[in-house]
């Protein structure tokens, strides 16, 4: 174009972007310049027609295809994601976006951690204290039972033996004390209670020998029968040999012998 107005004036005028003085000058030029007017008039219908064209609509299948593709891609992406990515994605769904909420969560987490540490420490300390108390209780029970066993009254000695039964780990000294009472206590009931108490520790290796010795020392058939029952339960060859020797002894009470024979026969 040889006129002073550049191409953009035509475009701006058609699109309504030319305003004020520029518009007035351009319109004046169009009224004076036949060539520019011809160009403008040629452009104007095309400009208007093209804008009034209806928008073409895609087939509905386009959306369906797109969402199918998206679902497929999501499935592929999900399976391709590493454990770290998946963990990140999961955390992102939980982690709040606003800084204020993030700060609140952080403070909450710190308080919770503090509470947890304090709780664990208290619990550990309580557990420690409980363990001490339990140990003290055992020592107390042991002392009391020892004291009761030394008592003159048979009822007190029976209480002492009952108390030993409540001690988790009586120790060798208390077991020795019980054996001593089986062998030497004047009261049959106390001796029987001592035999029952010793039966609780029959897995100790020295108990078999000591009970076998105690059996030969006993004059009470009921105590002998109680000891024999324990020895048979132990089911040891040496115990059985001792029992056979015991029943062959002429001084053995016939009732005890018969009981022993019957128990041995049951065991065989």
């Amino acid at each position: 174009m040889k006129c002073e107005f550049p191409e953009s004036y035509f475009v701006d005028c058609l699109s309504g972007q030319l305003k004020g003085k520029d518009l007035r000058l351009f319109k004046k030029h169009l009224s004076e310049c036949g060539r520019c007017r011809e160009i403008y008039m040629e452009m104007k219908p095309a400009w208007q027609k093209i804008a009034s064209m209806p928008e073409p609509r895609p087939a509905p299948s386009m959306k369906t295809d797109f969402y199918r593709m998206l679902e497929k891609e999501k499935a592929c992406t999900g399976s391709r994601m590493s454990l770290r990515d998946r963990l990140n994605a999961w955390l992102q769904t939980w982690w709040p976006g606003e800084p204020v909420v993030q700060l609140a969560c952080f403070i909450g987490a710190v308080l919770l951690a503090g509470f947890f540490v304090s709780f664990v420490q208290t619990r550990s300390s309580m557990h420690h204290e409980m363990s001490h108390v339990q140990q003290d209780m055992q020592i107390l029970k042991r002392n009391v039972s020892m004291s009761l066993l030394q008592n003159q009254a048979a009822s007190d000695r029976l209480k002492g033996i009952a108390l030993i039964g409540q001690i988790a780990d009586p120790g060798t000294s208390l077991v020795e004390e019980l054996i001593d009472h089986i062998n030497h206590d004047p009261n049959t009931n106390v001796r029987l209670a001592a035999v029952d108490a010793v039966a609780l520790y029959s897995d100790l290796p020295e108990i078999r020998t000591k009970l076998t010795d105690a059996l030969n020392r006993q004059d009470s058939p009921s105590v002998q029968i109680a000891i024999i029952d324990i020895l048979i339960q132990m089911n040891e060859t040496r115990s059985l040999r001792s029992l056979k020797a015991f029943i062959e002894n002429r001084e053995t009470d016939p009732i005890v012998r018969e009981h022993t024979n019957r128990r041995l026969a049951e065991m065989m």
Partner: protein, 186 residues
């Protein structure tokens, strides 16, 4: 409902929330389809190209930095998709084969026929324009993008865009005029 910007949606897609691509699809599939239809004259090919644009947006989402406008990035992908399509199908390119799929309103059959005739004429005229000219016309007149935005999409100055629009409209006007003359002579 709060409006989420294109940029934020694309960032979400980039971060793995692929559902957000659906929102972008709802916003832009129509515009892309119109653009491709004007360029390819084939509804099925245009639909496939739109699909391809969104597929590439997914595949290359890591390259999205959000420095410019989202539409600029999207149309750059669209151009690349179209160019690839042309390269692959150079020999098969046809024109005006499926340009009549535009909905018509109004119930007067005569008016409808007249309108359809105008549209056909315009399509034939547009078909004679170069790709560059047709592209700026679609973006500026049919999709109402500002010249600054088109300049961003096509990677040139606003002055160049205005010049292209001028020559495109001028050529179109001439073609329409000559076609009308032929029609009237007939």
């Amino acid at each position: 409902m709060k409006h989420i910007s294109d940029h934020d949606l694309m960032i979400s897609v980039k971060d793995g929330d692929l559902d957000k691509l659906g929102v972008l699809f709802e916003r832009y599939h129509q515009k892309l389809y119109t653009l491709f239809l004007w360029q390819t004259r084939n509804a099925i090919i245009s639909q496939d190209l739109v699909q391809e644009v969104f597929m590439r947006m997914l595949k290359s989402n890591k390259t999205y930095r959000g420095e410019g406008q989202f539409t600029t990035w999207m149309y750059c992908i669209a151009r690349s998709v179209r160019m690839d399509h042309y390269r692959k199908n150079r020999k098969k390119m046809t024109s005006l084969d499926q340009a009549k799929e535009i909905p018509m309103d109004g119930s007067d059959p005569e008016l409808q026929a007249e309108r359809q005739s105008e549209i056909d004429l315009l399509y034939r005229a547009m078909d004679q324009l170069s790709d560059e000219k047709r592209e700026v016309l679609v973006l500026s007149r049919l999709q109402n993008y500002k010249y600054e935005e088109i300049a961003g999409i096509l990677g040139c100055s606003v002055g160049t865009i205005k010049s292209r629009v001028f020559w495109a409209i001028r050529d179109l006007g001439k073609i329409v005029k000559s076609m009308n003359g032929i029609c009237h002579e007939m």
